[in-house]
Amino acid sequence: MTTEARHPHLLKLVDPPIIVGHRCISCERIAFPPDPYGCEKCGSPADNFENWDLEARGSVRAVATVHRHHRPAPITPFTVAVIELVGGPVVKAIVEGDDVVVGSSVEGFLAPEDKDDAGKVIVDLRFRIIQ
């Protein structure tokens, strides 16, 4: 059975998963998501970027449970959080568990989201409290 990330160039499917950002070689800014165009700090084009691995670990800055959603997925209720990664950038992602509050230490894990026609499992990054 093969597995693929919903956004393949944002994640490395290892255990624990790695989030892929970019680092600008000119100004050393580390950013997520990795950008295909250019640096918001110094204006360098994206060919001046290198991929930058970010640990999927951080602390929760904000959290909200969504009761109504304008799209078919995710199915409500689900909970999203703003997470300050230990490596600097801030990401927003779905969190699992009712115990996540502002200040919680969380870690990323790969959750199966879907299966395509060939049986390939599509996974996405979610976060949960570090036990």
Partner: protein, 383 residues
């Protein structure tokens, strides 16, 4: 030293205002909505369509070429017409362009109009930029603001009830406004019912319907030549537009951008936050009034919720926030919203706001933010 404002070189005034009530999507065409607002603005100013030198139409949803098919029904005079799109601030930017055109000396009388009808989605370009993100699809605008609410409420120990009181106030203001989409007084319990996302409930989220708003911008030459009533002409003393700069990781962009744009507007006008009597703020979601009250310097960080509770931001308080009902109650039909704010500020400065009149209003601000992110702020003063 900041450069002298272009608005002080050749002063500009709002001389006419007109609206079509904001409402749920109906069968009424945008042409009919827009013409209602422009005809009312012309009548209010006491000028004829043939006196108008140019028109700007703020619209984000109608598609290309909206202006002429509408405005030519006032007479196909052949004047320059331009659509202005700047997300939620489209109407604000049409006012900014009209002010710039009059201040430049090219025109004496310009119409700034906002008109829109809701479609299936917003069709926002950033989603098409080819920059995938982890949260794609799970965070729509109300959840973006629910997350900001979570962070703010945790930082300042503010409760759900305190945030909801913003909506209670703005629904009360909207109940006095015949142009508001929502015209019902709501209790705290009603506002706290029907959760949408995080602490935000249905009545703490703005309705996106349809409508139109128009203002007529004129120079002193135009006012004199056309014999416009000077006592009802309110001066635009600043027009500031900024886009999101690079802020520290995790800083709320909406508040940081508002702080920068507000500072630029106050500097241009030579005024202080404490000078404001009326503030029409981008309260698409209740939490935003608290964030922007602090970002614009109306109170210290963490103080806004207690200021709302004390009645300080009520009509009759030190500064009336969103006396029109704001986006929460008057509504947010996108293109019209920023123009409607200017109409409300002018009505307040003229002392013509009836039961929702802020006493002795002399200085007012209109503030919009939009996807992108953009922020547009105007300050008006009673001469």
């Amino acid at each position: 030293m900041t450069a002298p404002s272009f608005l002080s070189t050749r002063p500009v005034f709002v001389v006419g205002i007109g609206l079509h009530r904001y409402q749920r999507r109906s069968d009424q065409t945008y042409v009919s909505l827009g013409l209602t607002a422009v005809r009312e603005a012309l009548t209010d100013a006491g000028v004829h369509w043939t006196d108008v030198d140019a028109a700007y139409t703020g619209t984000a949803l109608l598609g290309m070429g909206a202006s002429r098919i509408m405005l030519s029904r006032l007479g196909a005079t052949g004047i320059p017409m331009t659509q202005v799109e700047n997300a939620s601030a489209s109407g604000s930017s049409s006012v900014a362009q009209a002010c710039l055109e009059v201040a430049s000396g090219r025109s004496d009388v310009v119409v700034a109009l906002g008109v829109d009808k809701p479609r299936g989605g917003l069709g926002a370009a950033p989603g098409e930029a080819g920059i995938p993100n982890l949260e794609a699809g799970s965070i729509v605008p109300f959840t973006h603001f629910a997350l900001l609410a979570s962070e703010y409420m945790n930082l300042h120990a503010v409760t759900d009830e305190q945030v909801a009181k913003v909506a209670v106030k703005n629904h009360r203001n909207g109940s006095q406004n015949p142009f508001a989409q929502r015209q019902k007084v709501r209790t705290l319990d009603e506002v706290l019912a029907e959760p949408i996302s995080g602490s935000l409930t249905r009545l703490q989220c703005c309705p996106v319907g349809e409508g139109a708003a128009a203002v007529i911008i004129a120079s002193e030459d135009g006012i004199d030549r056309l014999g416009i009533d000077r006592s009802r002409a309110m001066q635009v003393v600043s027009s500031a537009t900024k886009t999101e700069a690079l802020y520290a990781e995790g800083v709320g962009i909406d508040a940081a951008l508002t702080a920068e744009t507000g500072t630029a507007a106050f500097e241009e006008a030579g005024l202080e936050p404490s000078d404001l009597d009326v503030l029409e703020v981008h309260d698409a979601f209740a939490i935003e009034e608290l964030l922007y009250a602090e970002a614009l310097g109306l109170c210290k960080p963490g103080e806004a919720a207690t200021r709302v509770e004390s009645g300080d931001f009520d009509i009759g308080g030190s500064c009336a926030f969103s006396p029109s009902g704001g986006l929460l109650a008057m509504g947010h039909p996108i293109g019209p919203t920023g123009v409607g704010q200017i109409a409300e500020v002018v009505r307040q400065l003229r002392g013509e706001a009836g039961s929702r009149q802020q006493p002795n209003a002399r200085v007012g601000m209109a503030h919009m933010v939009g996807i992108g992110a953009v922020c547009v702020v105007h300050i008006l003063r009673k001469p």
